[in-house]
């Protein structure tokens, strides 16, 4: 019997999104998989990554608007969340906005005028 007191009403990122299946987005996703040699072990994972891919297509469009002199679109990272992308493909340790390195090791100023 369903518990009517506690019921999830928020979006679940891992929830299956059958509404994307058979859409143009899925066709683009299949092309992306073939271009970058991507494979997903389960149907659930496939649908999960498809959902992320759809969000990243929107993100690329936002980036295109904010950065019009560059070209943004589908890349090898289009099936990753921003958190996954940062964790797996970046990697500069957080130094809280400071520069890192030994105190006093800054290069002397070079004459650049003219």
């Amino acid at each position: 019997v369903e518990d009517l007191t506690i019921r999830q009403v928020t979006a679940d990122n891992r929830r299956i999104r059958p509404n994307l299946l058979g859409t143009h987005t899925e066709s683009k996703f299949r092309l992306f998989m073939s271009d970058y040699g991507k494979n997903y072990s389960t149907r659930e994972e496939y649908i999960h990554r498809l959902g992320i891919f759809a969000k990243n297509v929107l993100k690329a469009a936002e980036h295109q608007m904010m950065d019009p002199s560059a070209v943004h679109g589908v890349t090898q990272f289009s099936d990753l969340t921003e958190e996954e992308f940062k964790r797996m493909y970046t990697g500069v340790a957080d130094v809280g906005g400071s520069r890192g390195g030994t105190v006093g090791a800054e290069a002397p100023m070079v004459e650049v005028d003219g």
Binding site: Y36, N56, K59, A60, H63, Q64, M66, D67, P68, S69, A70, V71, H72, G73, V74, T75, Q76, F77, S78, L80, E82, F85, K86, R87, M88, Y89, T90, G91, V92, A93, D94, V95, G96, G97, S98, R99, G100, G101, T102, V103, A105, E106, A107, M109, V110, V112
Partner: protein, 231 residues
């Protein structure tokens, strides 16, 4: 300063590498700077080992003991220079090849190809960065990589990109004076940046970023290294 400058044209930059699914960008940025410095001092281009840094380097920042080099878990280029000065130097890529996973340290001091003598951070000024680039060779830099997840090509000049969240280590190899910006309807100067996500990413593995506005924190973590040939 020359109007345009590119260390690739002078033979000072190795092929674009691929860090894989491993947060080791800091190691690639470090080896890139050491490869360039070695080229400037000897005229010879060697591909150096990131895996040595991933496996062996656990140096910590002198000002922040929590910011330590930690293989695929991240690190800092300045920490890596400190490690290299202490360890004796870097092996070549071919003697200590990249695997993309942290393993046991197999560093052999007898195989050192390049020694690190010293390093320096560069002042937060784009002309100083350009002057040091020309004088010392490619520079290790950090930036905020948020726009790089979707970048395909062109000169990236985002209207808003936080300078604070510097999270990716790359290599500054040159600059250009005329990259066309549609939004600003003019030619804007840009940096040429070597990334470590393989040649299929960006412009054959390279990123062009607008110069002159400390975009994405590009000015905030810049360093140069001085090397010596191993005897």
């Amino acid at each position: 300063l020359p109007e345009d400058f590119d260390w690739r044209e002078k033979g000072g930059v190795t092929e674009v590498k691929n860090q894989g699914a491993c947060g080791s960008c800091w190691a690639f940025s470090t080896t890139g700077a050491a490869e360039g410095a070695h080229f400037v001092s000897t005229g010879k281009l060697l591909s150096l080992s990131e895996q040595q840094l991933v496996d062996c380097d656990q140096a910590c920042d002198p000002k922040d003991k929590k910011a330590c080099d930690n293989g695929c878990g991240g690190g800092l280029m300045t920490n890596a220079y400190e490690y290299l000065m202490e360890a004796g130097g870097l092996e070549e890529e071919r003697s200590y090849p990249y695997t993309g996973k942290r393993g046991h340290c197999k560093f052999d001091p007898e195989k050192v190809a390049v020694r690190v003598l010293n390093f320096t951070t560069i002042p937060l000024d784009e002309n100083q960065i350009a002057a040091n680039l020309v004088r010392h060779g490619p520079l290790a830099v950090g930036l905020n990589a948020v726009f790089m997840q979707t970048y395909i090509g062109g000169v990236s000049c985002p209207l808003i990109c936080s300078k604070r969240n510097v999270n990716h280590g790359v290599l500054l190899v040159g600059y250009g004076s005329k990259g066309f910006s549609i939004l600003r309807l003019s030619n804007k100067p840009y940096w040429i940046i070597k990334n470590s996500w393989g040649k299929k990413w960006g412009e054959n593995g390279y990123y062009k970023l607008c110069r002159g506005h400390d975009i994405c924190g590009i000015n905030s973590m810049v360093s140069a290294v001085a090397t010596q040939v191993s005897s």
